[in-house]
């Protein structure tokens, strides 16, 4: 037995690969389990191979070891637009909204994501390893979203879910008012959405009727095909709605067409908690530091606390900003929520495991457990304190950021 262990050790040490490393930290926040004081996380082949007390986890000789005060899972930003909305904020780097039609679910995020965008690199430097990003909450249906790791030089190297959700928006941000413009009212927004889904249902029926007879199939229609993905529950509809009446409209629409709804923003969610809880809809809450103006005029820093108490699953987002700052940092946002009553653990879950769960990636991301992706964020103190630095970010065992941001 001892000989076997020794041989294994030699073999493993001999083939330490690019995606192998160990992290030692004074505090390891596993999220799924208890905090480990003086812990070690071992990553092999990009996956977590061991998590435990330093005394209990042997670190093979020759393996790269990173040391930090605090280690935790790489952060998951549940909703962003980085990679589509560039930091220059000039026409040539803004790909988050096409203005030619109010409903365009066929617009793929993979055709627009810029993996080399500076803001992707920026958020990575704060420990963000996964972003749910895509078309912005600026049109009735602006397009698709994707899930990417904050790495790589191309979308193919970065993306882990090519079509994560289809992004819809209710309320003022997706209105187009003026003569000949539409939708100009809330009722018109819902009428247009219902017509679009009815059209997709019709297409769905024709496809089913045709069966395997290609001659009877209707012509292909990218727009309808995208909505059928929603109707058949393969892809959720992400509905950004801030006002309580728009939240209720989103619930009504989801009930009529039976799709999976993920609610986004929801700044007035606290007045419709019962309806949300009854519908079992998860919420990607607005950034706690989003500007409390316009649609968010009644936003509250205590909303996350109320969602938690109502047992409504929620996560935080950096969100979409049309002006300075072009992106928020989800770590900073969670910090303010932690200090506004949610507490450290609640805020941490909302940017790790709970965010992964809303994205359907909880088996792979969001906690430090054996078998999950080796994505870690390392800090030189309490990660939520203004004065703490992220000292390293690791994606699947590869150090993608090192420094002191």
């Amino acid at each position: 037995m001892k000989l076997f262990q020794a041989l294994t050790f030699l073999v493993v040490a001999g083939v330490a690969r690019a995606q192998d490393l160990a992290v030692r930290a004074e505090r390891v926040h596993t999220v799924s389990g208890a905090v480990i004081e003086n812990g070690v996380v071992l990553v092999r082949g990009g996956k977590i191979a061991a998590v435990g007390k330093a005394a209990d986890v042997a670190v093979p000789a020759g393996l790269r070891v990173l040391t930090a005060k605090v280690a935790m899972p790489g952060l998951v930003d549940a909703h962003s637009v980085v990679g589509l909305a560039g930091y220059l904020n000039q026409p040539q780097d803004q790909d988050q909204k096409d203005p030619t039609a109010p409903i365009q679910p066929e617009l793929r995020a993979i055709d627009a994501y810029n993996a080399r965008e500076r803001l992707v690199e920026w958020v990575r430097g704060f420990g963000v390893t996964t972003i749910h990003t895509g078309h912005a909450p600026t049109a009735l249906i602006s397009g698709q979203t994707l899930v990417a790791k904050t790495r790589g030089d191309s979308v193919d190297e970065a993306v882990i879910v090519p079509c994560a959700m289809i992004a819809a928006t209710l309320g003022a941000d997706s209105r187009d008012e003026g003569p000949g413009k539409s939708p100009g009212t809330a009722a018109k927004q819902l009428a247009l959405l219902r017509e679009a889904f009815l059209g997709a249902q019709d297409h769905q029926k024709k496809l089913a009727a045709a069966g395997s007879d290609a001659s009877k199939k209707p012509d292909r229609d990218l727009r309808k095909e995208a909505l059928i993905e929603v109707l058949e529950k393969r892809v959720p509809l992400l509905v950004t709605a801030q006002r309580h009446q728009d939240i209720s409209s989103a619930l009504r629409l989801a009930k009529e067409f039976g799709f999976r709804l993920v609610l986004d923003g929801a700044s007035e969610a606290y007045v419709v908690l019962d309806e949300l809880a009854a519908a079992g809809v998860p919420v990607i809450a607005h950034a706690p530091m989003a500007r409390f103006a316009g649609e968010l005029e009644n936003a509250s820093r205590s909303t996350p606390l109320k969602l938690r108490d109502a047992r409504i699953p929620f996560a935080f987002q950096s969100g979409y900003e049309a002006y300075v700052p072009k992106t928020r940092v989800v770590l900073y946002e969670a910090a303010v929520a932690a200090a506004s009553g949610l507490g450290f653990d609640g805020a941490l879950r909302a940017i790790t495991l709970d965010a992964a769960r809303i994205l359907g990636l909880e088996k792979r991301l969001g906690s430090l457990e054996v078998g999950k992706d080796g994505d870690l964020a390392l800090y030189d103190g309490d990660p939520f304190e203004y004065t703490t630095h992220c000292i390293a970010t690791v994606i699947e065992g590869v150090v993608v950021f090192e420094g002191g941001r």
Binding site: L119, T327, E385, Y386, H389
Partner: protein, 440 residues
């Protein structure tokens, strides 16, 4: 605007007995907190004694004798520091210059600000007791700014700091870079921007020459010109220029113009100060810095870096560092956070706290009145739950000129701090207004 029922008499009496009134009548002693005077070292288990809106004494428990009639407030475990000075804000919902011309020195924010705008309440919740309210940066010269004490008032006049002659005190807003580039008569280039500004100052110099030549002979004086008078207040040093500028070359252009016309200036935003920190420090030009969460959002902020404050400090110029909210760009309720982010990027804690208080007060010629906890200064102070640079710290109370203007324990005040149903009201009622029976 809808009227509501006149409040019952009992309620009016309660309003008359508001804590702010009490503070004026009896000395208040805040005892047991860690006191951060800013002008000196921290005092543990300290005492802050205030009376008639002024600070009477600051010191250790042993060193400050409490008057027999003092109302003693136990603030053990808390932190006291001066009220914050926000050097650049847009609260109050006012617009200064209009779109008719790029240089409008005659326009006054005094005539534009709604003193009942809820933005002032939110700023109180963030601990801001002094605020410079300005026009936007879409003009080379957007008009006369206003330095305000952030108190609940019935008219804007009651908020104004005053020059020695009694006139409302303020600076002059200027901007360069791309924000003020527009169709004519606005400039389209940086060269044209500087030329237009130089022409204005040269014209003001000519105007001044004519005034001087006329001496006391009224018949020879040029006709009054409000814009020229505004510019002359800049040239005389009475009115400090508050200059929006981001890019390194634009920053140096401001230094060049300030030298040519010898005007006093505070640089605002200064995203690329870190690139020209040596030049700024050598010229001893104060900087009011913004701290944003990511670079970009506009071309000028593409190279924004939070280490600008630290770079100035490294060059022996910590007194040149101040911060601002630019509300609504950043949130007045989180102004302390700006200093935290600068510390994160290498600034010392001492300079960070001075940059929220005493440094800006001095930059604004208000250093003898506010910015530190010292005998004789205005009783502007904060009761904090802990370290001002910690995210977990709450602003529990804000006092301005001896009045408690924010109390986190009060549900109405907490609405301004945390938001919630009804927080979207743009206008705030204050205790002073209850008697009017006016709706908000």
């Amino acid at each position: 605007m809808a009227r509501m029922h006149r409040p019952p008499l009992a309620l009016l009496l309660v309003a008359a007995l508001a804590p702010s009134a009490l503070a004026q009548d009896a000395p208040h002693a805040f005892v047991g907190a860690r006191v951060l005077p800013i002008s000196g070292p921290a005092i543990d288990d300290g005492v802050l004694l205030v009376h008639h809106g002024k600070i009477e004494a600051v010191g250790t428990r042993a060193s400050v004798a409490l008057p027999a009639n003092a109302v003693v407030v136990d603030v053990k475990g808390k932190v006291l520091m001066p009220g914050l000075v926000d050097t650049h804000s847009h609260v109050g919902g006012g617009w200064g210059a209009d779109e008719s011309a790029p240089i409008q020195a005659s326009v006054r924010m005094l005539d534009a600000i709604d003193c009942r705008d809820a933005g002032f309440q939110r700023a109180q919740a963030g601990g801001i007791t002094t605020v410079n309210v300005m026009s936007g940066s879409g003009h080379l010269m957007g008009g006369q700014t206003l330095y305000l004490k952030n108190k609940d008032v019935r008219s804007i006049e009651e908020m104004c700091y005053r020059f020695a002659d009694g006139a409302p005190m303020g600076g002059m807003k200027m901007a360069n870079g791309t924000n003020s580039h527009r169709d004519p008569p606005f400039p389209g280039t940086r060269g044209k921007s500087a030329a237009l500004v130089r022409e204005s100052f040269v014209a003001a110099q000519e105007y001044e020459r004519k005034l001087r030549a006329a001496g006391t002979d009224e018949s020879k004086k040029p006709a009054r010109d409000l814009a020229m008078e505004g510019l002359l207040e800049v040239l005389s040093g009475r009115r400090i220029v508050h200059h929006h500028t981001h890019r390194h070359d634009d920053i140096l252009t401001v230094l060049r113009l300030a030298k040519e016309f010898n005007f006093r200036v505070v640089l605002h935003h200064v995203s690329e100060a870190w690139k020209v920190a040596s030049e700024i420090a050598a010229a001893k030009i104060p900087c009011s810095l913004i701290e944003i969460d990511s670079p970009g959002g506009k071309l000028e902020a593409a190279d924004f870096d939070s280490r600008s404050a630290a770079e100035l400090e490294k060059r022996g110029a910590p007194e040149l560092v101040a911060f601002h909210t630019d509300d609504w760009i950043t949130d007045s309720r989180l102004f302390l956070r700006s200093a935290g982010l600068a510390v994160r990027a290498g600034l010392s804690r001492e300079t960070a706290l001075a940059g929220l208080t005493l440094n800006p007060a001095r930059m604004f010629d208000l250093g003898d009145r506010v910015g530190s906890l010292e005998r004789g200064k205005d009783a502007d102070f904060l009761v904090l739950s802990g370290d001002p640079l910690s995210v977990y710290t709450t602003v529990e109370q804000t006092w301005a000129g001896g009045d408690k203007v924010f109390d986190h324990a009060d549900a109405k005040d907490r609405l301004w701090a945390e938001g919630g149903w009804g927080a979207g009201l743009r206008r705030a009622g204050a205790l002073c207004c209850l008697g009017d029976g006016e709706d908000r």
